[in-house]
């Protein structure tokens, strides 16, 4: 009997403490300002095209909605499906398709189910999509992030990307202003304005991304430098967290990343270090450190290919959507973390992009893009894919590096002054 009473008392005590803990949580958060309106929101999908009953489109995704990268594609699928009034039977989604023969089998299966368009979302899907495209000349095969369409010689194989470097640049402005705020508050000196970047691999897509992010920051904070740590994997939460912690140990005061897990953002939230995210807002998980996130919105491309197929017009071999098309979007800005004036500065830069007066890779500006202290005047990029990575195309035109101009996938792969690779094995 005594035992029973004792346990009852203990249970009551535990419940009381729990209530107290939850109550204190509730009262602590009412001062937060939260997210601003997005300066570059995802536009609503609109199309006047009439969808025939026999139209079908198939999507191949590397992972499922648990990956931020794939979720970004799947969100756009849902948006387009709803806006264009496609039925469940007209949109077939295959998730968790490896970058292997599985992709070829899946693409063939979608084609024989009657899909007029087959879309795949991962870089490694490309050779298998090409293989399927050669077997089904009447079906359009569209591939995101790939590099081979303009040289493959197949009319029904297409690559797509977005000028996400513009989005990265805008996010970089937010980072630079945050550094300025830290310098003004005396938390760091101007020389200590070091950003950290968690990258997946040393590819052009990653390098183009972090360079434009860095340039965005540099446009407002001239003393900024950046350290890059690679993980060698697109999705590895533990490695990304480890890389972020290594960067923090190396003296970085702000982190951004180009890898698909929550590793880096959550490492920042634990340490209370500001974070600029990618592929979508991580505000919900990291409300005290998230500043802003850029992302590619795939809905405009989906709409474009669907309209092209139904209207019988040709799909471009390479398609690169920008701010104008609504392919580059930003999340809302976290007003609790971002420096004052961030929204205004980003809006000004967007206006510059829209007017064509602002170029991210402007090689004529002083103290902006230099390699070994020299300004760039010429650079031969590897645009046409080959095994030896032969540089084949002059990329600098009219005073700027013409990123994504000759091929949709990024090809800016120059390590500029101010950025340091901590490891390069990937």
């Amino acid at each position: 009997m005594f035992k029973k009473i004792l346990s009852l008392v203990l249970v009551a005590a535990m419940i009381a403490t729990l209530c107290a803990v939850f109550a204190s949580c509730d009262t602590g958060s009412d001062e937060l300002k939260g997210l601003s309106e997005s300066p570059l929101p995802t536009p609503a999908v609109s199309s006047s095209v009439e969808i025939p009953d026999d139209f079908k489109i198939g999507f191949i995704c590397l992972h499922d909605e648990n990956s931020t990268y794939d979720n970004n594609f799947l969100k756009a699928v849902t948006a387009v499906k709803t806006a264009l009034g496609l039925t469940d039977a007209q949109v077939i989604v295959k998730t968790n398709i490896d970058e292997s023969n599985a992709c070829y089998v899946a693409a063939k299966d979608l084609a024989s189910q009657g899909c007029k368009i087959v879309f795949a979302n991962s870089f490694g899907h490309e050779p298998f999509m090409l293989q399927a495209a050669a077997e089904f000349p009447e079906v359009e095969f569209c591939h995101a992030t790939g590099t081979m369409a303009h040289t493959a010689g197949l009319d029904n194989f297409h690559n797509a990307f977005a000028s996400i470097y513009q989005g990265r640049y805008l996010a970089g402005i937010a980072a630079g202003l945050k550094l300025n705020e830290m310098i003004e508050a005396g938390k760091i000196t101007a020389d200590q304005a070091v950003m950290g970047y968690v990258g997946a691999f040393t590819y052009a897509e990653v390098m183009s991304g972090f360079t434009s992010f860095y340039l965005g920051a540099k446009s407002v904070c001239p003393s900024v430098t950046m350290k890059v740590q690679y993980t060698g994997s697109w999705y590895d939460e533990a490695l990304e967290q480890e890389a972020a912690n290594a960067l923090l140990a190396a003296g970085c005061v702000l982190i951004s990343q180009h890898a698909d897990s929550m590793g880096a953002p959550s490492a920042c939230e634990v340490k209370g270090v500001p974070n600029v995210s990618y592929n979508g807002s991580t505000y919900d998980a990291c409300p005290e450190t998230f500043i802003v996130s850029s992302a590619i919105n795939w809905a405009p491309y989906y709409t474009y290919i669907i309209e092209s197929v139904i209207n019988g017009t040709e799909i471009a071999a390479d398609w690169c959507g920008g701010i104008k098309e609504g392919s580059v979007v930003l999340s809302g800005i976290n007003l609790d973390v971002a420096a004052e004036g961030t929204v205004k500065a980003i809006e000004d830069a967007i206006a510059g992009f829209k007017a064509g007066t602002l170029q991210v890779f402007d090689v004529t500006k002083d103290n902006y893009i230099t390699v070994n202290g020299e300004k760039l005047t010429s650079y031969m990029a590897d645009v046409d894919t080959d095994d030896a990575f032969t540089p084949d195309t002059e990329a600098i035109k009219d005073g700027y590096f013409n990123e994504s101009g000759d091929r949709s996938a990024p090809y800016f792969d120059i390590l500029i002054d101010g950025i340091e690779n901590l490891n390069t094995k990937y």
């Binding site: 077939i92 998730t95 490896d98 292997s100 870089f123 490694g124 050779p127 298998f128 590819y203 095994d387």
Partner: protein, 395 residues
Amino acid sequence: MSENIDRVNETEAAAQDVKHDGHKDKKKREPLFHITKRGQLPLIQAIGIRAAAIVLALIVGGIVSVFVTGKNPFDIYASIFDGAFGNGDRAWVTLQEIAVLLGISLAVTPAFRMRFWNTGAEGQVLIGCLATAACMFWVGGSVPEWLLIVIMLGASIIAGILWGVLPAFFKAFWGTNETLFTLMMNYVAIQLVESFLKIADKSGSNTVGPTILVHGWVPNLFGVQYLLNIVIVAALCVLMYIYLKKTKQGYEISVVGESENTARYVGINVKKVIIRTMAISGAICGLIGFLLVGATSHSIDADLVSGRGFTAIMVSWLAKFNPVIMVFTSFLLVFLDLGAGEMSSALGLNKSYGEILTGIILFFIIGCEFFVQYKINVNKNHKLFAKKGEKEVLE
């Protein structure tokens, strides 16, 4: 045999009764049922038990589906079937997948009959894949295609044998643990493939695909994709059956498996049998690797075998190491896997749900083997079955 055990159990029960009589104040305890091993079950009955298990699995799976997804279970099962056999192409893919899984299962079987627990089929196949891909990459273009295919075949089989014999050699001469040794060899193979990917494709994709491995594509048989694999594995299945059941070497394997001492006593060279059998296992694995890369995918990545080296263990065990029954067990696993994958896509469910459903079905199918092997004898004297009047007396 089973009657004897029954009798023993009965005497035990009786002995317990006597014991309990000694403590009249305690309640009298008698087991509700006891379990006895069956002898050879008539074929009809054995099939009946398995059929009942499948029906039960479908019912339970259906009920779970309704509660979890709210979809019509008949739609779910129809789309699983459709996923595996929906149209001509899918049926060929299914047959091809069965061929690969069955091939690997045939490879591990002789070692298993010898009680040599080869958990390294994954690596043995993968190293065969790597040898094939390496030949396509480096030798391709400098020799005629037919010769290249011969070189690929030879290289993959040698690589497979090397991966199989190495652990066997250590086991035979120094008694190392083959389970761990073969398992570790998998990781060596995976790392070698990773290195090859870095060398062969610098663009940074995780796979070396058909745009790079352009030479040495094994021609289609009668213009039908995958038919060659299916024919080769079918032939292999028959040969393996004959080898295990009808040849001296097959018999030696069984004797070594039953007891190494007996084998030694009757003059079998145990070391030789172990090494020879693993060489055969490795060679078949290498051959499957050749078919996977040279004839099917024309690409390689570290996950090309995708766990089938381990699934093959289940296929082989479920079939009790009988190559002919393995055709059915590998069919079952491939059918469920492909069907469930397609079902989740067709009904807009997460792929994990297909795996849950597959898990439920496999649970019943593997579980029913217990009832094939053992009999449950319900004790009619138990008080649950006693009539009311008697119950009071008992208490």
